[in-house]
């Protein structure tokens, strides 16, 4: 179902005209209201009047996380502080958090975009939305919440954690739509199994999963184990939160970027030159309507490509390929680029192997050593050590075949890899690079 037929199916020319109008307005606003942006634009020799066509976007300087950090906490806000009605922030694990603000209109637009996201994923008014995204400074919880309310669904604002209770409430409240990170969805499937709860006895129909990269095999695993359709959704707090792009249930292939609100670009991660549609590169976003915290050409560090082929769902928005990794997640092991998602893909293609894994990288005598720890599940457990060893060797071989890099597989005791209720931490890099 398309939530907003008028905008989501705009012919491309009309859409681009709207984008240009909004872009001009954005640049004007930002140049006037944010001294930091004005300075950057002046240094790059570009004035608001230079933006005459959409292609002129590339004249504008990029914005990076470093720019956000330098302006901590409110330096990039483009409205007087009295207009700000909500503040969110990143966890700040690598220093000061990234702070973002919203006006009343921004919150309203966000709810509209999340209603579109839910609709694209097959949810509708009357659904019971079990929202296990974290509430608080993280944008996931409240973003999904307002969208589900806008849709006309009943929201269970359960947030993350206490999985047994989550499952009890799913049973008792008849939850039909699950929203959480994909790794937490699998965690819930584990707990259901432990509790002896058959997912088929639940009313869950679809799940909208995001906030971390996940693989196609993981989708199949979630769909099989929870007996639902699993949809990939995308967003990031710097750009808004969830609701920037979403798969449609019709194709489940590529995420429609809500282009009337955001302009996506893909740039070469080394030269930062824009690349043609279809080519892999770093995803860059410009927010067209945001009032409190607009960003211009924000470099996400996420890797994707633009799919411009028409989609059977009828939306005219271009799609971005599901995130395959991040430029900063990419491990370089003995000169080869390795993404955790590729390892995950291999693990999940082996029957009986649990998706709980961790990658540990070390450097010994200037040689990179990659170890993948994989939990032994009940289905692959054997009291014959040679059976377990054989499995370990098989995983090793398949990873070597796919990546061209050898690694060591360490089968570990079940439930020893830390469970995540939010984003899973997949990589521990002990190299002092």
């Amino acid at each position: 179902m398309i939530w907003n037929e008028e905008f989501e199916t705009l012919p491309r020319e009309a859409l681009e005209a709207l984008q240009l109008k909004r872009l001009k307005n954005l640049v004007e606003r930002v140049y006037t209201a944010v001294p930091y942006y004005r300075k950057k634009m002046d240094e790059a020799g570009v004035k608001p009047a230079d933006i005459k066509a959409l292609a002129d976007l590339r004249k504008l300087p990029f914005t990076t996380k470093e720019d956000l950090r330098l302006n901590y906490p409110f330096g990039l806000f483009a409205v007087p502080f009295e207009k700000v009605v909500r503040i969110h922030a990143s966890s700040g694990t690598t220093g000061k958090p990234t702070v973002v603000g919203y006006t009343k209109n921004d919150i309203d637009a966000w709810a509209e975009l999340m209603a579109r996201t839910l609709s694209a994923g097959g949810a509708h008014a009357g659904d019971v939305v079990h929202n296990a995204y974290g509430y608080g400074l993280f944008t996931g919880g409240l973003g999904a919440h307002y969208g589900a309310e806008r849709l006309g669904a009943a929201v269970i604002p359960i947030s993350g954690g206490n999985s047994k209770r989550q499952i009890m409430l799913m049973q008792d409240f008849g939850s039909t739509v699950l929203m959480c990170t994909p790794s937490y969805a699998l965690n819930l499937a584990d707990v259901m199994k432990e509790m002896g709860v058959d997912p088929k006895s639940l009313k869950l129909r679809v799940g909208l999963f995001g906030a971390e990269p996940w693989s196609e095999n993981m989708r199949q695993e979630i769909e099989a184990r929870l007996n639902i359709k699993a949809i990939d959704i995308f967003g990031l707090s710097e750009v808004m939160g969830p609701g920037v792009a979403s798969e449609c249930i019709e194709e489940k292939h590529g995420l429609h970027v809500f282009e009337d609100y955001f302009i996506p670009e893909i740039v070469n991660p080394e030269t930062f030159e824009p690349v043609p549609h279809g080519e892999l590169g770093e995803l860059v976003f410009t927010t067209l309507t945001k009032e409190a915290f607009p960003v211009i050409r924000y470099r996400t560090k996420d890797l994707s490509r633009i799919i411009d082929a028409p989609c059977s769902c009828g939306r005219t928005f271009h799609r971005m390929q599901r995130i395959t990794g991040r430029t900063d997640d990419m491990l370089i092991i003995r000169g080869v680029n390795v993404f955790p998602s590729q390892i995950e893909h291999v693990l999940m293609s082996i029957e009986g192997v649990e998706p709980h894994y961790q990658i540990i990288v070390d450097r010994q005598a200037s040689l990179d050593i990659m170890e993948v720890q994989v939990e032994v599940s009940e289905t692959i457990f054997s009291d014959e050590i040679k059976v377990l060893e054989k499995l370990g060797r098989r995983i090793e071989r398949e990873i070597k075949d796919l990546l061209g890099v050898s690694c060591k597989i360490k089968l570990v005791e079940p439930r020893t890899i830390q469970r995540s209720e939010g984003k899973a931490k997949r990589v521990i890099d002990n190299r002092k690079l």
Partner: protein
């Protein structure tokens, strides 16, 4: 269980089973570099499996064969010869001397269960019934 000095001595398995009133008939330990595998023959398999799972252990149930042989030199060799003749591999085994009778009980895990039963029966070696093992 984790491959740490404390894991067995903490008696996690044993106390869980004791509390459930389960008696351990035979036990053996195998270790990989990462974790230990504790194999147990108990008097109530289903209940043991259930209580261990409830405590969060990973539990698997495996079919084994109990064989009774005379407690004298050559008892084990007789069975192994039968296996050799039929190309059946022993994955692992437990052996213990029975208290009351003058027999020894050997419990085997073979790679080919059906074939092993067949071969043992043809040579007239006594395969024990489950109840006989549980009540040793």
């Amino acid at each position: 269980m984790s491959d740490q000095p404390s894991a067995l001595s903490k008696g996690l398995y044993c106390s869980v089973l004791a509390e459930a009133g389960i008696n351990i008939r035979a036990l053996s330990l195998a270790a990989t570099t990462e974790f230990g595998i504790l194999r147990l023959i108990v008097n109530d398999t289903e209940k043991a499996k259930q209580v261990l799972k409830e405590k969060g252990f990973t539990v698997g149930k495996t079919e084994v064969i109990g064989v009774e042989v005379a407690d004298k030199p050559g008892g084990l060799a007789e069975i192994l010869n039968v296996m050799k003749a039929n190309s059946i591999n022993v994955e692992y085994m437990y052996a213990f001397v029975q208290k009351s009778a003058g027999n020894a009980v050997i419990i085997f895990r073979f790679d080919e269960l059906e074939k092993a039963i067949d071969a043992l029966q043809k040579t007239g070696i006594k395969i024990m019934k489950g109840e006989e093992i549980y009540s040793i």
